[in-house]
Symmetry: C2
Subunit: 213 residues, 2 copies
């Protein structure tokens, strides 16, 4: 199913999202700007994609679909031992299945310790096992109030395992990100509601350069 | 003399042009968009350059400086014979020195004929000898009224020998264009007054993506 045609929609113009299943409008990946935004050329329009927000949205949907498909995972050479306080251990106990379905292999090792044998793996990048502690910490923050526990885990995991702003990406990584984003149902905002894509038409650019009146 | 620091100036913001002679702010050439605009990354800012307008400005200054420096020229394998009407022959007669200093080698061959032995040459591109007829035609247009005859020739030549919008450029050609533009005294508009460079700061982009408030 090809949904790259989402790039036909401009986030700025706040058009409703429609999917036309037949064609892609991405013609060219131009490059990466400030190691943070990906510039994509479309048909009479160009796009700037926030690599972090876009990846966050991709991961959010991947994690949400965890029951349907297993995300990529990589075994650690040495298991990573993480000591947790009682509150975090309770969380782990309750959500261990969800966490493991996100690509971790976490097992309870003692009263206050978990053993991490595998971590999520995306774009040739291995998620640091210590990210689990960050995710547990964020779970308790008020930022996510109103979300279900599962949603909180997913949002926090998506944020902390996504490509960061300021990371230099290879051409292959850029292509993968752009393609994955094109396959989403809700590609235009990250889970926090920030835009992932902004666009400008060739016509708008022509006006700026006074090529047209 | 390094003036690449012009890219520190934003055309859109209409700041006065200042030259700081010590450093360049171009960090990266990102690529070419719609085969028409060059995307350049600077320090906390990015630039879109209209390749035609920019080249027009470069050539305009080159032709204006014709008495100081000879522009690149290439001999034709076969001399090109151009038949002209009486009015055009009078123009040629009057401005043959100026035309030849722009990179042509034009000589009068008969009552209504000139022989073109060499043409201007830029960016590995040879100017078509027939451009001389276009330039002569435009000389008589009212578009340029208010300009001196020399100015009219120069403006028309710059317009008709510049890289066009829609031309795919090589990385080397892009670099040369960007560097040459950076060395000009008036890089921000083409001879017709259209902008050559527009810019956006990283901060403005961050606002669009709601990375900052």
């Amino acid at each position: 199913r090809n949904k790259n045609n989402i790039y036909e929609q401009s986030f700025i113009q706040k058009k409703p999202i429609e999917h036309r299943e037949t064609s892609t409008n991405i013609k060219n990946i131009i490059g990466q700007l400030f190691n943070t935004y990906i510039i994509v050329e479309g048909e009479k329009k160009f796009y700037l994609i926030d690599q972090h927000a876009a990846h966050e949205r991709i991961l959010y949907e991947t994690y949400t679909n965890q029951y349907k498909q297993t995300p990529a995972s990589q075994n650690l050479i040495e298991p990573y031992q993480l000591e947790l306080n009682t509150q975090d251990m309770l969380l782990i106990n309750e959500y261990i299945d969800e966490i493991n379905r996100m690509g971790f292999d976490v097992s309870i090792f003692g009263e206050n310790t978990v053993l991490i044998r595998a971590v999520p793996y995306f774009f040739n990048r291995v998620v640091e096992p210590s990210v689990l502690q960050v995710v547990l910490d964020e779970f308790k923050e008020k930022e996510y109030k109103g979300l279900s526990p599962k949603e909180r885990f997913i949002s926090s995991m998506a944020c902390h395992t996504a490509i960061k702003a300021g990371e230099l990406l290879s051409v292959e990584e850029i292509k993968e990100l752009v393609n994955q984003l094109g396959n989403l149902d809700s590609p235009f905002t990250c889970p926090h509601g920030r835009p992932t894509i902004i666009s400008m038409t060739q016509y708008e650019l022509e006006k700026k350069f006074k090529r047209v009146q």
